[in-house]
């Protein structure tokens, strides 16, 4: 069934494409007179009709699916700056700024990272509430939703470090620390390498 060429020399794939794409034959005159081609065509047509039937079968999303999603989103949106761990004994809320601080410390544990910014770090002209709070969502580098967190972190690397490798190390370390310290799921870690420093500049 899967030989490269039929005995008449026509490639098997040509007939397969004709059947599966419902295309006209490449050489209609040959096909009209060649029993091998016609037999293969009939056999493949029969086999492929099962896939065609499945493709024609109408599929609709269950009606409750979107309701369930939107209920969950409304629940999550009620507390956007906290991650929430729900247990039968009660809820544990972890502020985004805590997750950000853990991410920054985890990144700084990687030897070639000179400094990690954001995610709980704040400049002098910002208050902590603006970094991770109800009015400061855009200012924080950590997004939390239920038990999932997304971390955007800016790091300054040592000059001479292989940067893609460094980013992978930072990512792995953040995943590991946040999971082990908070029990939250890290959905995404985006590492922005914003500068490189020489040893002299660090000193």
């Amino acid at each position: 069934m899967t030989e490269d060429n039929l005995p008449c020399g026509v490639p098997f794939d040509e007939i397969l494409d004709q059947v599966t794409d419902h295309r006209p034959p490449r050489d209609p005159r040959h096909q009209a007179t060649c029993p091998t081609c016609r037999a293969t065509l009939a056999e493949l047509g029969d086999v492929w009709s099962l896939i065609d039937e499945l493709a024609a079968h109408p599929v609709q999303a269950p009606t409750h699916l979107l309701h369930a999603v939107m209920d969950r989103i409304r629940e999550l949106s009620a507390q956007p700056w906290y991650a929430v761990l729900t247990t039968p004994q009660g809820d544990t809320k972890i502020a985004a700024r805590v997750v950000g601080a853990l991410a920054r410390l985890a990144a700084e544990d990687v030897p070639e990272v000179s400094l990690a910014l954001g995610g709980g770090h704040h400049s002098k002209d910002q208050s902590l509430a603006e970094v991770a709070g109800p009015s400061g969502e855009a200012a924080t580098d950590v997004g939390v939703s239920g038990t999932h967190v997304v971390v955007d972190i800016d790091v300054i690397a040592d000059l001479g470090t292989h940067l893609p490798h460094l980013a992978d190390q930072v990512r792995a370390r953040i995943h590991q620390d946040i999971a082990s310290y908070t029990g939250l799921t890290v959905a995404e870690v985006n590492v922005n390498i914003v500068d490189v420093l020489t040893t002299e500049r660090i000193d």
Binding site: M1, T2, D13, L16, D17, T20, E43, L44, D46, V47, W48, L50, I51, E53, L54, A55, H57, V59, Q60, A61, P62, L65, L66, A68, V69, M70, R72, I73, R74, L76, S77, G143, S145, H148, V150, A187, E188, N190
Partner: protein, 214 residues
Amino acid sequence: MRTPLRDNLADRVTASMERLPQPARGSDRPASRPGLRAPSHVLVSLARGGDEPAFEELMRFHQDRAYLIALRLTGNPHDAQDAVQEAFLNAWRGLPRFRDEADFGTWLTRIVINSCHHQRRRQRPTETFDDTTPVSATPATDLIVEGQQRHRAAQQAISELSLDQRSAFVLHIFAGLTHAEVGRILGISESAAKVRTHRARRAIAATMHEWEES
């Protein structure tokens, strides 16, 4: 409470359309799509800002295709529902990072496929369930039962494909996407998408041939 929210959505769409630049000529963002009550890019922009009714409207438009893809990729309705729910929640979480120049449908489909892959890793090996309504056993239903058996066999053949081949095949054959669109979603070239689909077809034809003979 839902109706006033919907009315407000119409107001917000109008206000947002005045602020947002119109899609460029030749852009893959159509100004509006049949079935959507507001231009897609306006709803995306509102949803990115946390507008839940706008997000709901977008998901309502995309949910049937998302579920179809998930159903054919996972092979059973329970996993497909879980995968689509997870994908929509991830889309909500990821919207602030969504880059508007990419087509929203492409982005969402990519998330659905990833969710299906995660779903598969979390769960038992794929077991193909019937996705059709059960029918009572009477002689008159023989044809329906036979049809269901054929559906199950076809779905089983799809489930036996590798994840890479299955994704390309499902997007091309069931979602009706071109190889270029399949390539964009899977992050591969158009020719690589073509090769994956073709290999999937060969494998499925061989499996179905064996099933018919048995």
